[in-house]
Amino acid sequence: MSMRLARPGTSDKAETSPLAVRGLTVSYGGDPVVFSVDMTVAPGQMTAIVGPNGAGKSTLLKACLGIVKPLAGRITAWGKPVARQSSRIAYVPQRTSIDWDFPVTVIDVVLMGMYRDLGLLRRVRPQHREAAMACLDRVGMRDFADRQIGQLSGGQQQRVFLARALAQQADLFLLDEPFAGVDAATESAIIAVLKALRDEGRTIVAVHHDLSTVEAYFDRVFLINRRRIAEGPVSTAFTTDTLHEAYGGRLSDGFTARRA
């Protein structure tokens, strides 16, 4: 009974949320890196997953996607298991997880975003190619379509992966540190595309590590340090107190001082 009182309306929200996590615990064989986390992503908004190094940000995202198998917990997208909604979810992995010597060109990568449409046997037709080129256009990479991916700069590589996600026509975009190691021009290009997606009514969730840009880029924040620290609109969840709770003393002299 007390449980039900503690979380009024939780289950209703989980039914409609593009991504709802309940009681998620993940371990890579040792102590849990994510412990008993609840998260309810708000539809049509941009949410930043923020927390110190090793706080389980990427792990949380990977568990949501089914890439990492959790010890416990339930994850739903629009009220159904994530695996059944995968056509509506696009994922942009961390740049470091890719083998950049792999023999694929930029356009090949974007065409992979259309896998659901192409399936096993359907041929790649001019209209697929044009749609892929349009996605590249949106991230300013049209001129690079025939380059092998290893020949791109870090920022360009990140934009190509965003283009692949765009090609999927998804409703929920999950990005793992999209701004890590990219130049300023790429950062502003990516954020412009993400904001445009949000304005079309799509939902964005990004693991983010740069605290100074959280307020400018995102609507909502999910603060994590192994457990959920705070969740909500930037104005209420991203405060000196919650940051102190997530980062401990590590942040006291720098960022929080400037905010105070």
């Binding site: 890439i67 979810i89 792999f102 023999p103 694929v104 992979m112 896998y115 096993l120 046997l121």
Partner: protein, 399 residues
């Protein structure tokens, strides 16, 4: 004789064997291409060695049942079963313990092969069934192969190839970015299992021709040779199939010229020849191309640096630079610039001044990242931009 062998003029059976071997090679090359892209090439070694106990046991069972011990489909089934068990054990060991995959492969490979050799020795002491011939499965032997066997091999190769073609998209996506593939609804574990099943099929089909010790070469060598020629995964896979087919065809045809010649080693040597050629002459990734590229870059750097020094009236320190300037006709033997050298020097000086102006300009400064010391600014800016930039140079240019 060799020419006749390659053009299929050594009789109907030899031709059939060569074609079956080609089909096997194409299938092995294509499967090997994906195996290489997935970075699992070594698993094929475990699979192939793990076939041996099953092969010997199948022989014993068939003889015990009063049948022909060398009945190929039966031997293939036995090999597939024991290789499947070996593969399953490698997977379990990797998943359940902290052993890295290469260690698990090493353990399984040697254990199964050892057991297989013991069983093979027992087979050789058996009275029943003409034992001679089972060792042929170690290194491959096409001598005295039955027509039905060749047909089975060709059909097996074709079936594997069709399966690879059908699965090419999910296989590629898993190889490139398994997280993304998973999110797209492709079962990574299922796709890996399918790839392993294809490798297993190639191994079992290829036992008779290439032999279980060397089938690995037919899976790996064509793929790494093909990688030299293309930056697109599906082209790599297709080319790998082509290379595998050539090696399989040539190996079977050549070994038909001398009955004592084992087929596997010849297939492998042909594959290696294709690899060596690729390594040397492939454009862009090949050794010759790389050396040529290095030479060209080196000479551009030296010439530009030498001209820069000349334009500033400084001495050229490096002997190599002096030599290159002289050879390009830009300096005289005494080190003074020639007519052409002076023109080049002026051009370089203008280029340097323009780059400097670009770095200081308000509108074009973003392009300064394109300045690598060798790129001429004319190739970066439009004529209009260049004209605008030159107006900021004008005061100095006018004097």
């Amino acid at each position: 004789m060799i020419w006749q062998a390659l053009t299929l003029q050594l009789g109907y059976n030899a031709a059939l064997v060569a074609l079956g071997s080609a089909a096997l090679g194409i299938a092995a090359g294509a499967v090997g291409g994906f195996l290489y892209l997935r970075k699992r090439s070594l698993v094929s070694d475990a699979i192939s060695h793990a076939t041996l106990p099953g092969l010997a046991l199948a022989f014993m069972v068939m003889v015990a049942l009063g049948g022909e011990g060398r009945f190929l489909p039966g031997l293939m089934l036995g090999s597939a079963l024991s290789a499947g068990i070996g593969l399953w054990l490698v997977g379990r060991m990797t998943a359940r313990t902290r052993l890295p995959q290469d260690a698990a492969i090493g353990a399984i490979l040697s254990t199964f092969f050892g057991a297989g050799i013991v069983l093979l020795t027992i087979v050789q002491t058996m009275q029943a069934g003409r034992q001679a011939g089972l060792e042929g499965f170690l290194l491959g032997s096409t001598a005295g192969m039955l027509r039905a066997d060749a047909l089975i091999i060709a059909a097996g190769g074709a079936a594997v190839l069709a399966a690879v073609l059908a699965l090419r998209r999910p296989l590629l996506m898993v190889a490139f970015d398994e997280g993304y593939a998973q999110v797209n609804g492709i079962g990574v574990a299922r796709m890996d299992a399918a790839l392993m099943a294809l490798v297993l099929a190639v191994t079992v089909v290829g036992l008779k021709i290439v032999g279980l010790i060397l089938i690995v070469a037919l899976l790996i060598i064509p793929a790494v040779a093909a990688r030299f020629w293309s930056e697109r995964a599906l082209h790599v896979v297709m080319l790998s199939g082509l290379f595998g087919g050539l090696a399989g065809y040539g190996g079977a045809a050549l070994s038909a010229t001398a009955p004592a010649l084992p087929t596997g080693p010849i297939v492998v040597l042909l594959g290696f020849a294709l690899f060596a050629v690729s390594l040397l002459v492939a454009p862009s990734r090949g050794l010759l191309a790389a050396a040529l590229r290095h030479r060209r870059l080196q000479s551009r750097v030296h010439l530009r640096q030498g001209l820069l020094a000349l334009s500033r009236g400084e001495p050229v320190y490096e002997a190599m630079t002096r030599r290159m300037l002289r050879r390009a006709g830009l300096t005289r033997p005494d080190g003074q610039p020639t007519e052409a050298g002076r023109a080049e020097t002026a051009r370089i000086r203008l280029d340097e001044a323009r780059w400097q102006a670009l770095r200081r300009s308000d509108t074009l400064t973003d392009l300064s990242s394109r300045d690598d010391g060798l790129t001429l600014i004319d190739s970066v800016l439009t004529a209009d931009q260049l004209a605008a930039l030159d107006t900021t140079l004008a005061p100095r240019g006018a004097t």
